[in-house]
């Protein structure tokens, strides 16, 4: 994986004499203390992270946490107070005006929360705005802009004015304007936040679809966990100008760095975020499968000893074989069939690990015993009981020790 953008110790302090703020930060003062003392606003402090080529990197945090400031330092719409940003190894913070403008024209494009379309230009002219700025001939730029409009499904509206379109369509124009540049990196500052939920998820799908066609590096700002989880390959959590955690959605969900990060998950509908493996627990008795005679008796013994009604049969490689119950074992023995095979319950379908919780509810209800979960190699991962499932719904987070335990 190649590193596309490397950010090192980036600071932004707003106000007169920002350098004096740097000193106070060194002394360990936080955002509020510094503002009280000096009137300086800490926008971003000590941000360091790496964005890999081709990934969607989501920056998440509450309002005022410094997300916009952070991404605007990447293309220097906001000048950093200290620190460095590298794009493909080149130091952006040291670029002169000309290379900076060049970089903005060819490498990084931006999509804005407010769309920021030019009201005096048609959709096509808006889409070709960046190309026009970089001095491309009319024919070529309109061709490329048309192509970009086609990608977002707006070709028929090329001659409309932006204000004649709905919000979602306007943001598609914003997206097309950025895509027309054919940039390496897309910066999206709450690009979908102004849209209503339905259109928003439609746009998220659109973005993911575009990523499939040609992989770009996307740096996406959001204050919405759902959105971050849905589209993010990795997420950076920001608080008070600081990046408190960077990781894949799973990592952050399972091991939130602090209370702030955790607090984000409250109110999140867990069924859209978690999958079967996150909730599966090894709370049930597993029985080692073997062909030999007398296995049902041993199994029954084990179940009784542990006071269980059901047992989950796995083989040497921990592959899932089936489920037995005290009843099924007893009736097998009564029939004089002395193998575990004969005692396996009918119609037990294990749930694949990646199944979203949303789809599991129906399955969990169907069985009278906890539902087994397996990975793609049919290896047993644990079970989901009705209880555990409901508790997850209530708490919003799987109980600790979930998943791999």
């Amino acid at each position: 994986m190649t590193e596309k953008v490397v950010v090192k110790d980036l600071f932004k302090i707003f106000g007169h004499d920002p350098k004096s703020g740097l000193k106070l930060i060194e002394e360990g003062l936080d955002k509020e203390q510094i503002f009280e003392k000096t009137g300086l606003t800490v926008g971003v402090r000590e941000a360091s992270f790496t964005v890999n080529a081709g990934e969607i990197f989501v920056v998440m945090g509450l309002s005022g946490s410094g997300k916009s400031t952070l991404v605007r330092m990447l293309n220097r719409l906001i000048e950093p107070t200290a620190g460095e940003v590298f794009l493909d190894g080149e130091n952006i913070t040291k670029m002169n005006r000309k290379s900076l403008i060049d970089m903005r024209r060819h490498k990084m494009s931006m999509v804005f929360q407010s769309f920021a379309l030019m009201p005096h230009l048609t959709v096509l002219q808006n889409a070709s705005f960046g190309l026009d700025i970089s001095g491309l001939g009319k024919q070529e730029r309109e061709e490329r802009a048309m192509n970009a409009l086609d990608q977002v499904g707006l070709k028929p509206y090329a001659d409309s004015l932006p204000q004649e379109l709905s919000g979602g369509m306007q943001q598609r124009v914003g997206l097309a304007r950025a895509l027309a540049q054919d940039p390496d990196i897309l910066l999206m500052d709450e690009a979908f936040s102004a849209l209503d939920p339905l259109i928003r998820s439609e746009m998220q799908d659109e973005l993911l679809k575009l990523q499939e066609i040609s992989e770009r590096t996307v740096i996406f700002i959001s204050h919405d966990l759902h959105e971050a989880m849905r589209i993010g390959d990795r997420i950076a959590m920001m608080e008070g100008g600081r990046i408190v955690q960077v990781g894949t959605p799973d990592e952050i969900l399972k091991n939130p760095a602090d209370k702030y990060v955790k607090s984000f998950f409250r109110g999140v509908d867990p069924t859209t975020v978690f999958s079967a493996k996150d909730v599966a627990r090894k709370s049930q008795l597993t029985l080692r499968w073997h062909k030999g005679e007398g296995a049902p008796r041993a199994a029954l013994e084990q179940l009784r000893e542990e006071d269980r009604e059901f047992g989950y049969v796995i083989d040497k490689q921990r592959k899932f074989m089936g489920v037995v119950s005290t009843d099924s074992l007893e009736s097998a023995m009564a029939r004089d069939e002395n193998t575990l095979d004969a005692a396996l319950l009918d119609n037990v379908e294990p749930v694949p690990a990646e199944t979203p919780l949303q789809e599991i509810l129906a399955v969990v209800r169907r069985y009278e015993f906890p539902v087994p979960v397996v990975d793609e190699d049919n290896v047993y991962l644990g079970v989901i009981s009705k209880n555990a499932f409901l508790r997850t719904l209530e708490a919003g987070v799987p109980e600790t020790g979930a998943g791999t335990a």
Partner: protein
């Protein structure tokens, strides 16, 4: 007695005279340099208007009014000028029109760039604001004083007074129009690698155009009123019959002069207002 105004008076009058004479003697080339382009422009436009056969003028007027606004304004314009002609004031009207056009041309040439600078520099905006306020609060009549002192009397002096008098709105509204352009749109232009001048010409100026046009309309109306007053210093035009009529108590003469001015003002107002609106809604070629 201290308040004996007869005995002791401040000789400001003679001081001013001395000062102005000194200015005129020492800065003659500078004043001439200001006067020269105004004079050339004015003479050019006036000559053209006076020379053109009325029918040609009327046809052109109709086309301009029709394109800028609609055919109704065109008809209104043509009727106005026909009436003015039959009142025997065609020549005066052409002179007034020439003065207004010249003044507006210079107001735009000077005022729009000043407005742009004001929009980009807080310091410049702050420093010209009191000047613009003073220019707008000074009664039109008083403008004539310094102008006559420095440029003497006549049509050119009248146009110079008019330029100064009617400049403030176009500066103010250019400044305002550019400042009103949404910040996110300007930021987007920056993000796409626009240079400062691209931002000005491709984003700020076109978006400010309706406001600038409103400024142009105000400037034009102000210059018409000033051009009329400038008849006092021998500028000629439609102000002259009014002035003459009042002086010699020929109410009828003053009346037809006044009527012509009002009608002319209405025509110019309609056309210049429509210019701003049509520019706003019209789709522009990129």
């Amino acid at each position: 007695m201290i308040f004996d105004f007869e005995e002791a008076s401040i000789p400001l009058e003679s001081w001013i005279e001395i000062g102005v004479n000194w200015l005129v003697d020492n800065f003659r080339p500078q004043f001439q340099a200001v006067k020269w382009p105004v004079e050339k422009t004015l003479n050019g436009i006036d000559g053209l208007l006076q020379m053109a056969p009325p029918i040609v003028f009327l046809v052109l007027l109709f086309i301009i009014a029709w394109r800028a606004a609609n055919w109704k304004v065109g008809v209104f314009g043509v009727l106005t000028f026909l009436l003015v002609g039959f009142l025997g004031l065609w020549q005066e009207t052409m002179t007034t029109l020439a003065m207004v056009i010249s003044a507006v041309v210079f107001c735009v040439i000077v005022g729009v760039p000043l407005g742009i600078i004001a929009a980009r520099s807080e310091r410049f905006a702050d420093s010209i604001r009191p000047l613009l306020d003073a220019m707008q609060t000074t009664p039109a009549f008083v403008y004539l004083v310094p102008v006559v002192m420095l440029f003497s009397i006549g049509t050119v002096a009248g146009v110079i007074a008019t330029i100064i008098f009617s400049m403030p709105p176009i500066i103010r509204l250019t400044n305002l129009g550019i400042r009103q352009v949404r910040e996110d749109v300007v930021e987007a232009a920056h993000a796409f690698g626009a240079t400062e001048s691209q931002i000005l010409w491709k984003v700020q100026f076109p978006l400010a155009l309706p406001t600038i046009m409103a400024g142009l309309n105000q400037t034009m109306m102000l210059s018409l009123s000033m051009v009329v007053i400038a008849a006092l210093i021998g500028a000629g035009g439609l102000g002259e019959p009014v002035f003459e009529g009042l002086n010699s108590l020929r109410v009828g003469l003053a009346g037809i002069g006044g009527l012509s001015i009002v009608l002319l003002a209405m025509v110019l107002d309609r056309i210049s207002q429509a210019l701003g609106v049509s520019k706003h809604t019209q789709k522009k070629e990129g």
